[in-house]
């Protein structure tokens, strides 16, 4: 009976787990895995550098303090304040972009969103693929479009690294716009495609960290908690076994 019970619970759990990927892939389009690792401090530092060179002009990280960045990324106060802080904010204050909201709306049609929680709201795969999927589109106000997030308001700020990407369209069905078949780099940038994927992976890793700074510590603490609980459970099993000896014997 216990065996049956265990197998039925296992089945239910299996069913539940089997549906996780279905839900995780909520964007609809197939997204390449981002392959991020928040425990990789070098990757985090490279990602932070990219963020503060290319993104913070428009996007804030209003839940992330400079001081927290320093301690979590293993940087000194001076390094953070000279390399990452362009707004004169204090060390304990959060990362707020200097872009004026009204101008942003005039320039891009919308206020650039805060990116603190972007990785949790959209998923790391979305960010990684989004950053790799810009292409030139003269029909858009800023001259760029994106296959992962069609008609995005944002231009490809990383173009000098990636180069210029152009869309190859498939033949249009009558009455429909031609679909984008694939993207091609027509003017090379400063990075090879391989290097650029690495850079966007670093940037995605950094945003994964800003979405949940606790991720850095929870796994390393979790290992010890689970080891402790597993040991405790084993002792409790022995205790139960000892107490129940007479019940089983008398049967």
């Amino acid at each position: 009976m216990i065996k049956r019970a265990i197998s039925s619970i296992a089945l239910a759990l299996g069913l539940a787990v089997a549906t996780i990927p279905a839900l995780a892939n909520e964007g609809g389009a197939e997204l390449a895995p981002a392959g991020t690792n928040v425990a990789d401090r070098a990757s985090l530092q490279r990602g932070a550098k990219l963020f503060f060179n290319y993104c913070v002009g428009c996007h804030s990280l209003k839940y992330v303090r400079y001081s927290r960045l320093a301690s979590d990324l293993g940087l000194s106060e001076e390094e953070v304040m000279t390399n990452f802080n362009f707004t004169g904010a204090k060390f304990g204050e959060p990362v707020i972009s200097h872009m004026p909201v009204d101008d942003a709306k005039a320039w891009f049609g919308k206020d650039p969103p805060d990116l603190s929680l972007e990785a949790r709201a959209k998923g790391v795969d979305f960010i990684y693929n989004y950053l790799n999927s810009f292409y030139l589109d003269p029909s858009r106000p800023v001259g760029w479009n994106n296959t992962v997030f069609p008609n995005a308001s944002m231009p490809n700020v990383l173009w000098e690294l990636q180069g210029l990407q152009t869309a190859v369209h498939s033949e249009a069905a009558p009455g429909h716009d031609a679909a984008v078949e694939k993207l091609e780099i027509t003017t090379p940038g400063r990075m090879t495609p391989e290097q650029f994927r690495g850079a966007t992976r670093d940037l995605t890793t950094f945003l994964e960290y800003t979405a949940e700074p606790a991720a850095l510590e929870r796994q390393s603490i979790g290992v010890w908690v689970i080891l402790f609980l597993a040991g405790l459970t084993f002792l409790l099993y022995l205790l139960k076994h000892e107490y129940w000896k007479d019940v089983h014997d008398s049967h």
Partner: protein, 433 residues
Amino acid sequence: MANVFSSIGDWINERAPGLAPMYRAHMTEYYAPKNFNLWYYFGSLALLVLVNQIVTGIFLTMNYKTSALEAFNSVEYIMRDVEWGWLIRYMHSTGASLFFVVVFLHMFRGIMYGSFKRPRELVWILGMLIFLVLMAEAFMGYVLPWGNMSFWGAKVIISLFGTIPYIGDALVQWIMGDFLPADATLNRFFALHVIALPLVLLLLVVLHIAALHEVGSNNPDGVDVKHGPKGNRWDAAKPADGIPFHPYYTVKDLFGTGFFLTIAAFIIFFAPTFGGWFLEHDNFTPANNLVTPSHIKPSWYFTPFYAILRMIPSFFGTAIWGVIGMFGAILLLALLPWIDKGAVRSVRYRGLGFRIALGVLVVSFLALGLVGAGVTAELIPEWFPHADVTTWENAFGRLMVLGYFGFFVFLWVYTRFGFEKTKPVPERVTMHD
């Protein structure tokens, strides 16, 4: 030292002579059947999670801000700036989901072994009331972080009351205190979530256990140990197949607690969002009444009932049938003691029809969960690229609704008109390990 304790004990005994007998009646001299199996861990685990929710909840309220402007930020403040805030919040959010896992399994145990049957109808009814209050508690708790799914979930669920004829619209505004879920809604939900409903929940739990201890626990054989032979090692007048709850089941439940906490810790530390099932992606965006999430869906533990709501179509110009169906699905569970007329309790000795029907109930319930969560809407185009998703989903979902309600109809006919061929129930409990 022992002297100090015994004199403290005497001091209390003189002044509250009822306490020690009460402890004995519910712990050391409460005789539970000795053949409890794995399914019997979930009652004590539900109590454990309830305590976890209350304790972690108290700490969360110390930094949570009850305001539509500040709620979302304050949750992120807890996640980032409050010492161990992330752990407390994950314990609370994971606890909410595990509460339902445990309670669903606990209820399934009751159906499988006929624990709802005479003389335990009151225990079952109180349990169903706990389930209802728990659903309200979870729903309101889900609104508090004021993420975008909190907002839209609240809007959809509260709108259900709008289907009630004549008073619907006024009722919806009265519940929300506004024309949309807003600051007023958030504040009253906070009040209900942190004090009103927990008090009701605690009272009902006490009554549930008190009612159980009045009639005694059922067991996997469905044998009434109280009516069996008397005399065990501790008491000649007590059931021969009973053992004292303390220490036997307290140490056993402690082991279950350890096992459960290990699994819970794994989720809390390694998969706190559980792939978007325990904490949803759309709830990491602040509430925004201008941006609708691509799929509005309730938390996973509501999805079977939500699917019943969605799958039942409107008739006569009103959508109230779905709402009736959804609440009816819960009401029918509460009425099980009167729907199931069979004399045999445990699935072990019941007819084949019952076993199959129980399987159908479980499959329909899980499948409805997938429909309600929008998983079928994603899988259908993947598996059958040319199928019309809505038609297929409705066909599948409605079949599962039939399966769910069919269980109750079948069970009544099956037991009322004597179709069930039961096996002989043993005189004494059996032990399988």
